[in-house]
Amino acid sequence: MIEIRIHGRGGQGAVTSAEIVATAAIEEGKYAQGFPSFGPERRGAPVTAFVRVDDKPIRLREKVYHPDIVVVLDPTLLEVVDVAEGLKDNGMVVINSTQSEDEIKSQYKIRSRMALVDATKIALDNLGLPITNTTMLGALIKATSVVNIDSINRAIDRRFGPIAPKNKMALEQAYKETRVEQ
C-alpha cells in the first residue's frame, strides 16, 4: 500500500488533487482512498489531504500517519508545517519550490529524497492562476509510479471538463521539468 499526504493552503486544491490521484488509481483497477483532513476549510489556512493506493481492498480508516510520499503545493508551507513528519525512511517529498535540494535540506527538517519543481510558475504560465494542484500531480508521477499519466489525465478530464486541457498542459510541463533526486 502506498500512502500519500498532500499539504496545501485552503483554496489551492489539495483535496482535489487527492481526489484525482485516488480516481486515477481506481480507474487503473486498483483500490484507493482519497480524503481531506476533515473539518471546515478556510481559504489560505494550511490544509492536508490524503491518498491510499493498494492492489487489494483497503481496510484502514485511520489518518495517514506514516506516508510514503508527501506533496507540498506551496513553498511557504515549509516554514510553518513539518511536512516530513512521520515520513517513512525510504519516503519521498515532492515540493513546489525554486530552491535546490541542498538549500532545502539546510533550512528544513527534510532528510529524505526530494523531487522539486517550480509549480507556481508553471501554473501561472498555463492556467494564469497560482493554483498548483494539477501541476504538482505532474511532479508526483514523475517522482513516483503511484499512478500512470494516462489515468491521471482521464481523471482530470472528468473533474475539470472544459478547463481540463490547460491543467493537463501544466501537468505535462511539470512532469518534464521536475528534478528527482536519485
Binding site: A22, I26, A32, F38, R59, L60, R61, E62, K63
Partner: protein, 392 residues
C-alpha cells in the same frame, strides 16, 4: 453489469437514492451530511432525477415533510446528522409509529456541546429507541448497498418502518473510494416500485395519527415493537437477495477471524475496517483475537450476537458514544444485557473511543485487546473506560 467508479461516498448515497427513483427529498443542510443532499439537488435541477426537492427550513420540518410525503404515497428520502437528528427527535418516534417507510442517511457526528462537527455515534445512540430500523455501513460500497437495501426493506409490506442507514461522518462521507454502481435494470429487479399499504387518498379517506387513549397506547407500542422485532426476517431476506443479484453479502452480525478466538473485539461502523487490519496484525503476533461487527443495530440481533460470542473468553466492546452517568457505553450496555444469563458467556469489557473525530488507530485496538486480556486474567469486568483520555 454495472461500472466501478471512483466516487465520494456521499455521492454514492445520493446515486443510490437516484437509482431508487425517489419521489420526494426533504432535507436541511448540516455538516458532514450536505454532500448527499447537494448532489440530489443537482440531479433534480439537471432533470436527471424526477423528484420533488423540498428545501425545508429545519430538520424538524425535513422529517415532518417526509412523513407527509410518505403518507401521500411517495418514496421518500432524507439525510441528516448530529444536531439535526436531535432536532428531529420528536418526529422520529412519530414516523415509526405512523409506519411511514422513509429512508434516511445518518452521517454520524458528535452531539454538542462543545460543538464538534466530527465523527462519533453520540447522535444515533441518542435515538436508538425511536422505532426505526438502523443499519451501519463500514465503507463506501456498503453505504451504496445499504441504501438500496433500506428502500427494499422499509417498503416491504411485512415491515413498513422507516430506516436509518448510518455512515461515519467525514471518515466515510468525504472519502473517495471505488464504488460498484449497478445497472438501472438490476436495481429495478431488486427494488420494485413503492406500493403504499395505505395513503392519504380522498377516494379512500383514512385518519392517520389519532389520539391514543390509555386503553390503546400500550397496544400501539406493542404493535410497533413487534413490527420492529419481526422486521429482522425481511431484513435478512433482502440481504440474501441482494447477495444473489449483486454478489455482495450482508448479515446482521458479521464476524472476522472469530474461529477459536479467545478475545473478541466488537465494533460498529467504519472503524471495523481498521479493526480488521488490527486483528490481522495481532493474529500474526500470535494473539488469539477476532472481531464482531454489528451491522444491524435495530432490531437488535440478539440470537446472532449470542451465537457469535460462543466460546470466547473475553469480549471488548468499542463504543463511539458516552452514556453520561450510565453503566457504560450504549452498545456495551446492550451487549451485556443481551448476554446476561447466557451460560459460559464471555467477560464483557467496555471501551469508548473515537469521540468527536478523535482517530481510532491500529495501535488503539491493540491496546484495547491487551488491556482486555489483562482484565480477564484479573477476573475484572469494568464498566467502561475512555481510550486515550488525557489524565492530566
Amino acid at each position: 453489469m454495472g461500472v466501478r467508479v471512483a466516487m465520494e461516498v456521499s455521492i454514492a448515497a445520493a446515486e443510490a437514492a437516484k437509482l431508487a427513483d425517489v419521489d420526494v427529498i426533504a432535507a436541511y443542510p448540516i455538516t458532514p451530511q450536505t454532500h448527499i443532499v447537494e448532489h440530489l439537488a443537482e440531479l433534480v435541477a439537471d432533470g436527471e432525477l424526477d423528484a420533488e426537492y423540498v428545501p425545508v427550513e429545519s430538520e424538524h420540518s425535513a422529517l415532518s415533510a417526509c412523513i407527509g410525503s410518505s403518507a401521500a404515497g411517495a418514496r421518500t428520502f432524507t439525510a441528516t446528522c448530529a444536531q439535526g437528528l436531535a432536532l428531529m427527535h420528536e418526529i422520529l418516534f412519530i414516523a415509526s409509529a405512523l409506519r411511514t417507510p422513509i429512508v434516511m442517511m445518518v452521517v454520524n457526528r458528535a452531539l454538542s456541546a462543545p460543538i464538534n462537527i466530527w465523527n462519533d455515534h453520540s447522535d444515533i445512540m441518542a435515538e436508538r429507541d425511536c422505532g426505526w430500523i438502523q443499519t451501519f455501513a463500514e465503507n463506501g460500497q456498503e453505504v451504496f448497498d445499504l441504501t438500496l437495501h433500506a428502500f427494499r426493506v422499509a417498503e416491504d409490506h411485512r415491515v413498513l418502518l422507516p430506516i436509518m442507514v448510518n455512515l461515519d461522518g467525514f471518515i466515510l462521507s468525504h472519502m473517495i473510494e471505488p464504488i460498484d454502481i449497478p445497472e438501472k435494470e438490476e436495481v429495478r429487479r431488486y427494488l420494485p416500485e413503492f406500493k403504499p399499504a395505505m395513503r392519504l387518498d380522498p377516494d379512500r379517506p383514512i385518519s392517520m395519527g389519532p389520539v391514543g387513549i390509555p386503553e390503546v397506547y400500550t397496544e400501539a407500542k406493542k404493535q410497533l415493537d413487534e413490527a420492529l422485532v419481526a422486521s429482522k426476517g425481511p431484513i435478512i431476506q433482502a440481504w440474501d437477495e441482494f447477495g444473489k443479484i449483486f454478489g455482495r453479502h450482508y448479515k446482521p452480525v458479521e464476524t472476522y477471524r472469530c474461529e477459536d478466538a479467545e478475545v473478541l473485539l466488537l465494533t460498529m461502523g467504519s472503524i471495523s475496517e481498521t479493526a480488521m487490519t488490527a486483528v490481522d496484525i495481532m493474529r500474526e503476533k500470535g494473539v488469539s483475537v477476532g472481531l464482531i461487527r454489528l451491522r444491524l443495530w435495530r432490531p437488535f440481533p440478539l440470537d446472532e450476537l449470542r451465537a457469535a460470542v460462543k466460546g470466547a473468553d473475553t469480549l471488548a466492546v468499542v463504543d463511539r458514544a458516552v452514556s453520561t452517568g450510565g453503566p457504560g457505553g450504549p452498545v456495551c450496555s446492550e451487549v451485556r444485557s443481551a448476554l446476561f444469563g447466557l451460560p459460559n458467556r464471555p467477560k464483557v469489557l467496555g471501551f469508548i473511543a473515537g469521540l468527536g473525530g478523535r482517530d481510532v488507530t491500529l495501535e488503539m485496538f491493540e491496546e484495547m485487546v491487551n488491556q482486555s486480556i489483562e482484565y480477564a486474567k484479573e477476573g475484572k469486568e469494568q464498566f467502561y473506560e475512555l481510550v486515550g483520555v488525557r489524565e492530566l
